[in-house]
């Protein structure tokens, strides 16, 4: 008997020793599991702001509604399912199907509004859980779509700046360990296992107001000319900042159902085209730079100019033109004659220096280089046609950037999409003298006798060059499909912006750059300069000199608001 007791006690002691000693880890783990938890520390994706700090992309909290199908009762009442379906804005059949899913954990719907999620919680259906997540919102909608891009449901950038700056914008969630009491309240913080990292905010150079102006101007023009597409870009020539970059057709990045297809294309950056006459100022500037001609040099033009098998012609017959008039009237013959007097290598050097044929480093996904063949491969007929914009291709963005050499007295400005409002030093490409002379030739294009009188902007002196190119169709050029462009500078007296406009396949109310693209340029320039508070440099009525001697009441009321009655 005594022996039995002894054995029993020994067994107890051994067991106790085992639990305290080698077997302890198991129980400790159990205790920790009961009282310690690992919690996720959420972090949100950075905001995208415009140059004035206005939000153009922001992440707001949302809920993912999850069904844990092993917990959801099989005999859930029809009433509850109906309420759930209504709140989720889903069809009842779809909800039922998801609840019958084989998998244990099914997303019923993601990115649900927190207020609706709260109502779902009130339904108190067992096994329906809510997970924290974020949803991205884009207040500017269609107007800014191609600049900001969008994210997918996992909050990763898919297009635009959301994609190209993913590394900075992305957030990484953290983890920490805590001790909880039996009610689940946190009573002790055991420390952070992984720090959460909020995404960095990104401030762009784009101005929402100017962007809206540009987008609207394109939209109106596309309607008027029944065009297929259009694009525009506005660059601040002092700072090299992109103030607006608009495309039509566009899409609403807030609506996930339509995030595919043609309308996603950022045409300004990713589409290349033959620039046609918009390239002539570069050819002519080179001839002037080399001292071969000056704006007043008279050239014989005639009906046609033979280089290679096909003669080069103009839309009108000019017996002779000055070099300035070659630009003003957009003469193909005059431009190619100037080109044929220059070595191909020098033309290639200039075109390369202003960025043609090279991928612009501006941080946009899909930005293209365009095509500029090495000059060694140019036949004389190529050289004569490249001079007026055929056999070379660029994006609208490249064209706008190249024009900064005329706006900045011969310097090419580095262009950026990020907010950086200080004056940027450029790279000299041509002399200031040539650039200034070219500016006044470009201004003459918008004056009486020029090809783009409609580019004239009220209150401001502007200058620019039209372009109308036949679209490439199959192996040759289409006879009835056109691209209309206008690229210009304003105000001419002290340039502030370069604006480039492109309209793809205008089919009604004209198709020439001067008829289709120039009016868009005019609208964008006058509204943008006003928004930037640039004083008019052309003669406007009612110019008043400040003079304290003027008696009160003799000065008419000053209108300085954007909209007046």
């Amino acid at each position: 008997m005594l022996f039995m007791l002894f054995v029993a006690f020994t067994a107890l002691v051994v067991r106790a020793l085992w639990i305290q000693g080698p077997g302890n880890a198991f129980y400790e783990a159990k205790a920790v599991k009961g009282t310690q938890r690992e919690l996720e520390m959420s972090a949100s994706r950075g905001k995208i702001l415009d140059r004035n700090g206005q939000v153009i992309a922001t992440s707001l909290e949302a809920k993912a509604v999850i069904a844990y199908n092993d917990t959801v009762p099989k005999d859930l009442s029809d009433e509850k399912i109906k309420q759930l379906a209504n709140l989720l804005q889903m069809r009842e059949v779809d909800v039922r199907k998801k609840l019958k899913d084989e998998r244990n954990q099914v997303f019923l719907k993601r990115q649900v509004d927190p207020a609706i999620a709260q109502q779902i919680r009130k339904l108190e259906i067992p096994g329906i859980g809510l997970n924290n997540e974020f949803r991205r919102f884009y207040p500017e909608g269609e107007a800014m779509a191609h600049v900001v891009g969008f994210t997918n449901v996992e909050d990763h950038g898919q297009e635009g700046m959301e994609l190209s700056r993913e590394n900075d914008l992305a957030a990484s969630t953290g983890k920490r360990r805590v001790v909880v009491d039996r009610l689940g309240r946190i009573v002790e913080d055991m420390g952070v296992l992984q720090l959460p990292q909020n995404g960095k905010d990104l401030k762009l150079s784009v101005d929402s107001k100017i962007q809206y102006i540009a987008y609207n101007a394109l939209k109106d023009a596309v309607e008027k000319h029944r065009a297929k597409a259009a694009g525009a870009v506005v660059i601040n020539v002092q700072t090299g900042e992109i103030l607006a970059l608009a495309n039509w057709p566009s899409y609403n990045p807030n609506d996930r159902k339509i995030l595919s297809g043609e309308q996603l294309r950022n045409r300004v950056m990713t589409d290349t085209f033959e620039p046609g006459s918009t390239i002539k100022p570069f050819t002519v500037a080179l001839a002037m730079e080399k001292g071969q001609v000056n704006p007043n040099t008279v050239m014989t033009i005639g009906a046609k100019y033979l280089v290679g098998p096909k003669p080069i012609t103009d839309t009108h017959l000019y017996p002779s033109l000055t070099v300035a008039e070659v630009i003003q009237k957009s003469s193909n013959i005059g431009t190619s004659k100037l080109a044929m007097n220059m070595p191909a290598s020098e033309m290639w050097d200039l075109f390369t220096a202003v960025g043609f044929g090279q991928t612009p480093k501006v941080g946009f996904p899909g930005a293209v280089a365009g095509r500029l063949h090495p000059h060694q491969k140019w036949m004389p007929t190529d050289q004569a046609r490249i001079a007026f914009g055929y056999g070379i291709s660029t994006s609208l963005f490249q064209m706008a950037r190249a024009y900064t050499i005329f706006a900045r007295d011969g310097e090419l400005v580095p262009v950026t999409i990020e907010h950086s409002p200080d004056y940027k030093a450029g790279v000299r490409v041509i002399s200031a003298k040539t650039a200034i002379e070219m500016r006044s030739m470009l201004e003459s294009v918008t004056e009486a006798g020029g090809t783009a009188i409609k580019a004239h902007a009220e209150g401001y002196r502007v200058g620019g060059k039209t372009g109308t190119a036949h679209k490439v169709a199959g192996k040759g050029y289409s006879t009835n499909k056109y691209l209309a462009y206008f690229t210009g500078i304003a105000p001419i007296s002290a340039p502030r912006i370069v604006v480039a406009v492109m309209v793809d396949e205008p089919t009604a109310n004209g198709y020439y750059g001067g008829q289709v693209a120039a009016p868009i340029f005019s609208t964008i320039v006058s509204e943008t300069l006003r928004a930037m508070n640039v004083a008019p440099d052309s003669t406007v009525k009612n110019m008043v000199q400040r003079d304290d001697a003027i008696k009160p009441g003799s000065v008419a009321p000053i209108q300085r608001v954007v909209l007046t009655q």
Binding site: Q54, V55, M543, V544, R546
Partner: protein, 88 residues
Amino acid sequence: MNRATLTLLALLLICALSLVSAQQRGRKLVTAIERAQIEERKLNQEWLRLEYEQRNLSKSARIRDAARNQLNMSPISPNRTIYLREER
């Protein structure tokens, strides 16, 4: 037992009790901090939401619409504007 031992015993008891109460207070404070942090997060989210709403209400498109259709305003034109220039 002499008086010194008794005093020490009393001190020990006081220490032990205050340790328990300090620990309890510490846990309460942690809970309070947690609650405050949740509140902070909530307010932060609320602020983001309000910022978004404010932005939505001040969109160029909305302002233009309101100005044209509700207030019957029209865009300014340089022809109807008087510019004041500072004398140089």
